[in-house]
């Protein structure tokens, strides 16, 4: 039941917000997401006590004729993603406290609806249900970007919507194809385990086709090179909270999808085409890192850096060994926290100085030393310095890719160097050196902003120094997936 509650509670709060008026919205939203986080922690506690607890899963018939079930389960994989989602949402809500949005209640309602759909995507154990949540997640973010975004958002948001929708349709075809091959005592089934066995029974050629049908959807979502061109524009025009949702959580739908809905489905397809997909991912790491170096808008720089980071996650996961997948999970958590931090930094810069142009900024450190320290900690997390949260994941990922191919790992590892180049270069240009006109107005941070940054920094250091609790779950989840691939 806890699993159902995790999905229904945000939905319920979302409805309340839609009908509520005035400024109460942000308080309700914050309270709702904090409670949801507590529910997430409760799930974590329950899972630690007894992973098979009946509270953690739920299954009932939804559409009998097509044998569709409302089947959800919190297992090791979905628990990690649920923790990430429920941890980030209150922070994302808090970042809105210092600006006034139009129609705030609807804005928060959409964010909560998004949360419902995300948790649904991560917990669904039924192929059709998974697809429904997958598409459901697209609707609120589309409106968030369309209604609260900046200039030129119409065309860009529309492109994002259509692009990801087309990807999803390919996935739907793939899923239906699998569904048609299921046979449980004469019936067809959407249940994940049945889809797995249907996939395993396919010939290598069929598996290859299904691999691409499904992978395309995930590749667009992450995005993996060369399916990434919607991403920088969308990230830049979306409102800060939209960008945070997209990069912090939504792109993990893609990487999570690969782990749960691709690797165990078509092992032969992976064998045939995994190498190609890994190559694309690794090309993306280097390509996006190099582009990030010359970006002038800090938000766009982070957008490209995110392509690079997710490329490494994708490569590691697709190498389909223990280290690669486990590292992918760890890095999904770390990247979620760090990228939200970085986009928040971009937002703060914009609010205080009126610009995100790196060349126009400078010398902010002299104006606000505390901000400089917090910013630096997030940067260090992003470049995966040991004892920050980014390191364990990155080490495991490169390790995983190495076991697939040493050459590939050497290329993937270039992210260590290139990441330091664009991160330190931009940090230096924005924060260090002499003060510039734009930075003179950079006063003290608002309390809410400070709280968000401090929480993010504490998370970066805490899970870098002591990654064990999350790493244990990631290992468990990975082992179950690897067992299913056989």
């Amino acid at each position: 039941m806890l699993a159902v509650l995790l999905i229904l509670f945000p939905l319920f709060c979302s409805f309340i917000l839609f009908i509520s008026k005035g400024n109460a919205g942000r308080t309700i939203a914050l309270a709702a997401t904090v409670i949801e986080f507590v529910l997430g922690l409760a799930a974590f506690y329950l899972f630690k006590q007894n992973p098979d607890s009946s509270l953690l899963s739920y299954n009932c018939v939804w559409v009998e004729s097509l044998n569709i079930h409302f089947a959800i389960e919190i297992n090791a994989l979905s628990l990690l993603m649920a923790l990430l989602t429920t941890f980030l949402l209150p922070l994302i809500i808090l970042t809105t406290f210092n600006k006034s949005e139009n129609h705030p209640s609807s804005f928060y309602a959409l964010i909560l609806m998004m949360q419902m759909a995300l948790i649904g995507v991560f917990t669904a154990n039924d192929g059709f249900l998974f697809y429904v949540f997958w598409e459901l997640a697209l609707i609120p973010i589309y409106f968030i970007c369309l209604l609260w975004g900046s200039n030129n958002r119409g065309v860009i948001t529309f492109k994002f919507f259509v692009y990801t929708l087309i990807g999803s349709l390919f996935m739907l075809i793939g899923l239906i194809y699998l569904y048609n091959h299921t046979n449980v005592e004469g019936h067809k089934s959407w249940a994940i385990l049945d889809l797995y066995s249907a996939g395993h029974a396919l010939t290598a050629t069929q598996q290859g086709a299904v691999f691409w049908l499904i992978f395309i959807a995930f590749a667009i979502k992450m995005p993996v090179f060369p399916f990434h061109t919607w991403q920088p524009d969308t990230y830049v025009v979306a409102p800060t909270q939209g960008t945070m949702l997209l990069s912090g959580i939504m792109l993990k739908m893609g990487t999570f999808g690969v782990i749960k809905w691709l690797l165990p489905v078509v092992p032969l397809g992976l064998q045939e085409w995994g190498g190609t997909a890994i190559t694309l991912s690794v090309v993306g790491i280097i390509y996006a890192s190099i582009i990030a170096i010359s970006q002038k808008d800090y938000k766009r720089l982070i957008a490209y850096s995110s392509i690079a980071h997710v490329g490494l996650i994708s490569a590691g996961i697709l190498s389909a060994n223990q280290q690669g997948i486990q590292g992918g999970l760890m890095q999904m958590l770390a990247h979620g926290v760090n990228v939200v931090g970085l986009f928040f930094i971009a937002d703060i810069l914009m609010r205080h100085t009126g610009t995100r142009e790196i060349d126009k900024l400078g010398g902010i450190r002299s104006m606000n030393g505390n901000f400089a320290v917090l910013f630096l900690i997030i940067v260090l997390g992003a470049v995966a310095l040991p004892l920050t949260n980014g390191f364990v994941g990155e080490f495991l990922l490169i390790n995983g890719v190495y076991q697939y191919s040493a050459t590939m790992a050497a290329f993937a590892g270039l992210t260590i160097i290139l990441g330091a180049v664009y991160m330190l270069r931009s940090y230096q240009n924005i924060m260090l050196g002499d003060k510039k006109d734009s930075s003179l107005a950079f006063g003290p941070l608002h309390t809410n902003d400070k709280i968000v940054l401090v929480i993010i920094c504490v998370a970066i250091v805490a899970f870098g120094v002591y990654p064990k609790p999350l790493n244990d779950i990631a290992e468990q989840g990975t082992r179950s997936i690897i067992a299913l691939m056989k």
Binding site: K159, V162, Y163, P226, T229, W230, Y287, I290, I291, A292, I293, S294, Q295, Q322, Q323, Q326, G363, R365, S366, L380, L385, P386, L387, V392, F395, L396, I398, N399, Y402, Q403, A406, A409, A410, G413, L414, I416, I417, A420, V421, L424, R425, Q428, M431, L432, G433, D434, Y466, P467, K468, N471, D472, E475, R479
Partner: protein, 629 residues
């Protein structure tokens, strides 16, 4: 005390946290005192551990701290290894570190970032301790990148200066290039042995193919090249002199840059197995030593000279490692830590006296004005030049003797390096302290000896630089080489000299005679003939100009790497990304729209048009049916 080894890194960590969180609220005096005491406490514990270990039978003791990554497939405990190598490095780090902290309380007195400076410095010592005390490559790597971060923070300490910030960034990125090699090495070790714990893997090294071991050793060495500033990754170290001088002494001379040496000694099992890797280490080492020494000949910035000297001396240490003289290299690390820290702190004292001036062309005649600094620097200069009985003489001689056994060519190159060292160091000494004062009147008026907090560390280091040689007296003198016996337990193949005593005497005699000749030549040149470096670059001969400009290596790297990457960045973004990939995406989108618009015309609402269409369709189906048949 060994069980309490966690205290060694803990004290600096506490110091870091106190200064980091409350540094701005407490007085400078308290801030500096906390920083110094935390390092002193760490030193005392290290000393106790060192003594306990010396009396213990088990020379390799493991201390568990906590479980960092502990899963079925990957186990990396936060675990310390107390053995002769780690304890010796702990003593160097905390001992020299303490002296430099004390010195800094004087040197940084006027700086507004006083507590921030000590925050970084404490953090540095913490990471450096982790680097040497860990029982697996991962903890070493944590320390390794951690000291890199502190180095970045301290080089760019005066963050308003863009040149300093650039130097800091360059140091971090150059180090990361090496770190990638190191990380891949660690991964290969993990893939090969299923563990990265020292005490697990070294015993198994013999069971693995030599080619794998060679790859591991080479990858690790790439890391060492970055951290210990060897060709081709050395260019960050001279630029790192942008940091405050105590930082140059502690991080960029005495401790951090010797991390590469430490790591290779720690991994000596691999290098003993792989001749290819050892040979590479020796060749890279001696080439760097010679290369950097030649650059040192023409520099005029007192810290730059010392920086190139550091690069060169590190090269000599790698030469020692490459020929299998591990304990000699550690011995040289030790004596070098004494005399190079001394020289840097001395230089700091000179710069302090000169009101920030670093150009030796504008100094001169300082020996009577700042006597303690002069005498201690004289000691340091003699020590580094290799005159007996000062410490540098013994350690360098040991390395060269082992090199001679290995290869006479390498030995000759080492000898030349060592003679060049004597030249540029005495050039520095003569130009700075002798002759007439060449600075401004204002500077001359302000010349003063530094406060006791700065001169006392100088005196202590000078004493160590004099007597430090006692740690490794030559065996052919009939004495005991304490250092080589101390390190015996951790070295797979201890290297005992097989040379005849006559040969050893000859080598030693040659080294001393060479050094003396060079010093006399330097004396004639700069003292007797009053030779002065030219004021302007265009007065140099072409070949001198090339060396003066450090062989244009920075410019070459810029042209080879930085500029092409910047160019690619723009090109990828503008052409490949926007005008090609995205254009295709948009093209597909548009073509769908176009097709849609065309097809839409068919649905024009005219019943007649639909009927015509229907009839034509039926006809087409019938025709096709017949055709197929």
């Amino acid at each position: 005390m060994i069980k309490l080894a966690a205290l060694v890194p803990l004290f600096p960590l506490i110091g870091f946290l106190i200064n980091g969180f409350f540094g701005k609220k407490i007085s400078k005096g308290l801030s500096g005192t906390i920083a110094c005491i935390s390092i002193l406490a760490s030193f005392v514990v290290s000393l106790l551990i060192f003594m306990e270990l010396n009396h213990a039978d088990n020379k390799s003791q493991i201390v568990d701290v906590f479980s960092w990554i502990n899963s079925a497939t990957l186990q990396i405990p936060f675990q310390f290894l107390i053995d002769p190598l780690s304890t010796w490095f702990l003593l160097i780090i905390t001992g020299i570190g303490f002296l430099i902290h004390v010195y800094s309380t004087g040197y940084m007195q006027e700086d507004e970032g006083y507590s921030r400076f000590f925050t970084y410095l404490n953090l540095f010592v913490f990471f450096m301790i982790l680097l040497v005390i860990g029982n697996n490559y991962m903890i070493t790597f944590i320390g390794w990148e951690g000291v890199g971060l502190c180095s970045y923070l301290l080089i760019g300490f005066w963050y308003k200066n863009t040149a300093y910030n650039n130097a800091a960034k360059k140091a971090f990125i150059m180090n990361r290039i090496g770190d990638l090699g190191f990380l891949l090495g660690i991964i290969l070790i993990f893939v090969t042995f299923g563990s990265v714990t020292y005490t697990d893997i070294f015993v198994k090294a013999g069971t693995v193919s030599t080619s794998t071991i060679t790859t591991i050793a080479m990858l690790l060495f790439i890391g060492a090249m970055g951290k210990s500033a060897q060709l081709p990754l050395y260019t960050w170290l001279p630029d790192a002199m942008a940091g405050p001088t105590p930082v140059s002494a502690l991080i960029h001379a005495a401790t951090m840059v010797t991390a590469g040496i430490f790591m290779v000694v720690r991994s000596n099992v691999f290098y003993s197995i792989s001749d290819v890797a050892s040979e590479t280490v020796a060749i890279v080492g001696v080439t760097t030593a010679l290369f950097a020494a030649t650059i040192g000949l023409f520099q005029n910035d007192i810290k730059k000279i010392l920086a190139y000297s550091t690069v060169s001396q590190l090269g000599l240490m790698f030469l020692g490692l490459g020929v299998g003289a591990y304990s000699s290299a550690v011995f040289h690390v030790t004596t070098h830590a004494f005399f190079k820290a001394l020289l840097f702190l001395g230089a700091g004292s000179v710069i302090h006296a000169m009101g920030g001036e670093q150009d030796i062309r504008k100094m001169g005649g300082l020996k009577d004005k700042i006597k303690i600094t002069f005498i201690t620097m004289l000691i340091g200069t003699i020590a580094i030049s290799g005159l007996p009985p000062f410490s540098g003489f013994f350690s360098k001689d040991e390395i060269l003797a082992h090199t001679y056994e290995h290869s006479k060519v390498l030995w000759l190159l080492g000898m030349i390096t060592s003679m060049l060292t004597a030249f540029y160091m005495f050039r520095l000494l003569f130009l700075t302290f002798y002759g007439k004062f060449r600075g401004t009147q204002n500077q001359e008026h302000h010349l003063h000896e530094s406060p006791a907090s700065m001169t006392i560390p100088l005196v202590v280091l000078a004493a160590l630089a004099v007597v430090g040689g006692a740690l490794g007296l030559p065996e052919f003198w009939g004495m005991e080489n304490w250092m080589s016996h101390q390190l015996e337990p951790i070295i797979l193949r201890p290297n005992f000299s097989t040379l005849h005593h006559e040969t050893e005497w000859m080598l030693m005699g040659l080294a001393v005679a060479g050094a003396l000749a060079i010093i006399y030549f330097t004396y004639l040149l700069f003292m007797k003939n009053g030779f002065r470096p030219v004021d302007r670059e265009d007065q140099l001969k072409p070949w001198q100009k090339v060396i003066y400009n450090k062989y244009y290596v920075d410019e070459i790297y810029d042209a080879l790497f930085r500029k092409p990457i910047d160019f690619l960045s723009g090109a990828f973004h503008k052409f490949l990304d926007i005008q090609f990939i995205d254009a295709i995406v948009n093209g597909i989108g548009k073509s769908v729209t176009v097709i849609g618009n065309t097809v839409r015309l068919l649905q024009n609402g005219s019943i007649g048009f639909y009927l015509v269409g229907m009839v034509m369709g039926v006809v087409l189906i019938i025709l096709l049916t017949f055709l197929v048949k």
